[in-house]
């Protein structure tokens, strides 16, 4: 039951089993996809990277696979969307609540948020995914957008 995720997840911006070496690279790759698809302004990628440096979004999760949820101010967004990347190798993000600590991440949701209240369902669903270690590890094994959507729909 992840309806809002399924609705907002863009086929162009689901990158699976990819190889990146830094948080910046991941945000750039996902953000550029959302830009090319018309969901965010050109300023989004730079703003999201800058924000990640100052206010990081790495989240250590219960199942041993960790996640990050980069996002930025609503002014850089044209319409709400979600990008997602599963990473072949762990990429370090900084811990949201303890920025001096590194979190090795394999699942990234890039959030393009337009208004806080309008996206509350999607945000709650993303938190629901993060709180479900089985679902997190299932997502990492999928090789196509279709499989990812089916996994969310079946969760």
């Amino acid at each position: 039951m992840s309806n809002a995720i399924v609705q907002l997840l863009q086929p162009e911006s689901v990158l699976l089993n990819c190889e990146f070496t830094s948080a910046e690279e991941v945000i750039k790759a996902l953000g550029n996809k959302l830009f090319e698809a018309g969901f965010v302004k050109e300023s989004f990628v730079g703003a999201a990277i800058e924000r990640e440096k100052k206010l990081p979004t790495g989240l250590p999760l219960g199942g041993g696979i960790n996640a990050a949820i980069p996002h930025t101010e609503i002014e850089h967004v044209i319409k709400p969307a979600l990008g997602m990347a599963t990473l072949k190798n762990e990429v370090n993000f900084k811990n949201m609540v303890l920025p001096d600590e590194l979190v090795p991440v394999r699942l990234v949701f890039l959030l393009a948020l337009e208004q806080p209240k309008a996206q509350v369902e999607m945000l709650q669903e993303v938190a629901g995914v993060l709180q479900n270690p089985k679902l997190v590890s299932d997502l990492l094994e999928k090789g196509s957008y279709k499989e990812i959507i089916e996994t969310f729909e079946g969760a």
């Binding site: 924000r51 989240l59 609503i74 609540v97 948020l113 806080p116 996206q119 709650q124 938190a127």
Partner: protein, 96 residues
């Protein structure tokens, strides 16, 4: 009903994680019959808004000298330690 307790929920941009946290706290405390009003803000705004709050719950670092209890937690995002944090919030609001 008692006067609602006032909780300031902070995160980086006041749009993403604080939305999830605010909603989760509201529901958890409602289930315990604790009446709260929740305001979301950016971490950078906490200092100027804390005067109206009984408690600050934040997912990003905030100054420590705020004069009210501060709970820094990712529990409402990751689920880890969630019940313990809810107890901590209930406890912090007790004498307010």
């Amino acid at each position: 009903m008692d006067t609602p307790k006032r909780i300031l929920v902070a995160c980086g941009t006041a749009i993403a994680t604080s939305t999830v946290v605010a909603k989760a706290i509201e529901e958890a405390l409602k289930a315990k019959n604790i009446n709260v009003t929740i305001r979301q803000c950016k971490a950078a705004e906490v200092k100027s808004l804390v005067g109206d709050a009984d408690l600050v719950v934040t997912t990003t670092p905030v100054p420590s000298d705020l004069g009210v209890p501060v709970i820094q937690t990712l529990a409402f995002l990751t689920g880890i330690g969630r019940e313990a944090v809810i107890e901590q919030i209930v406890e912090a609001l007790k004498d307010k």
